[in-house]
Symmetry: C2
Subunit: 179 residues, 2 copies
Amino acid sequence: MQHAGLRDGLPAPAGGENLLFLTDEQIRRGIEAMYFAYRAFTSDPDLILDEIGYGRAHHRALHFINRDPGLTVTSLLEVLGVTKQSLNRVLRALIEDGLVDSRVGRRDRRERQLRLTDKGAALERRLSEAQRARMKAAYRNAGPQAVAGFRQVLEAMMDRDTRAQFQSLLDAPTAGARG
Amino acid sequence: MQHAGLRDGLPAPAGGENLLFLTDEQIRRGIEAMYFAYRAFTSDPDLILDEIGYGRAHHRALHFINRDPGLTVTSLLEVLGVTKQSLNRVLRALIEDGLVDSRVGRRDRRERQLRLTDKGAALERRLSEAQRARMKAAYRNAGPQAVAGFRQVLEAMMDRDTRAQFQSLLDAPTAGARG
DNA sequence: TTGGAAAGTCAACAAGGCTGCCCTATCGTC
DNA sequence: GACGATAGGGCAGCCTTGTTGACTTTCCAA
């Protein structure tokens, strides 16, 4: 359907701008694409997690701890946007199972600095490789220009605060205030 | 960080192709962007759903029933990719609350054809408007070319079957086998 | 020394996935 | 007309992962 958006009978607006990509129909497709793609996006790691009795929440914790070793529980809470109680359950399992190392902060001994153990890093790698394989295939298939657009739209969709956080992580992946 | 991907010290591959967009670092950012954007994407309708004691599952059912009035329970199950029992709980609530109308199929009386009532359509509109507002803003912000790339990558990320289903819906939104 | 932040714990609850099993109504076919 | 397959509904019980609320312990800093 090359002429999507014409169903409402509106001609292209004056001024030379082609705003057909903003029609309800196009937006609806974007919404559905987002839903279907996200489902696929999580499905590969989910299979692995199922095997070992973990869930997505464990994966997320492993991911962000891996990306930023030594981050505190509070920082992790902020990134994940969940409650302390909810994270705690997951974190406790990971620590008890020897995947995450929680050590008392040097600067502030109330804080816990989180790191992956070798075992945790191995699982994280396994999970993220499954996820990356799909993402990489999609990237390769779509090409660099499409990928740029993909990232642009996703960033524009985030909440202001999240986007700021996300973008700040681009330039300094490991440079938090955590020594 | 314009030079992302150079951290592994690899030069651009020979052959003139610039594959820097396929580095682990770029892929990782795509993964995180997907996570953060999806969270934002669901947050607006979630607020409304919370008010009235519904969840995302109700929203999804309303969305797909609205898009394809008269679809059967089995079709909806296939689109959503959940079990009958899981959907049933949600569907029962929607029918009891007078948002969805379930009538016996004419062609096959075993089937139930699902439609939104006026009340259901009103809620669906309210929910999808909240979601569309964000998506539309992101689209406008990123521009048509970025949106094309966005859709391209999302589609490439889907499972084969889902993508086929998704694409078939483009040309014939209401043309199922359901007379 | 004292207030408050950080971290952790326990309890209870809800949404929404899942499996397993059973039931009815209906359809198509032998 | 009987029988198997299909569509759908319902019940029980499980899990993960989110939530509130209340409480304690630890520890830094004023």
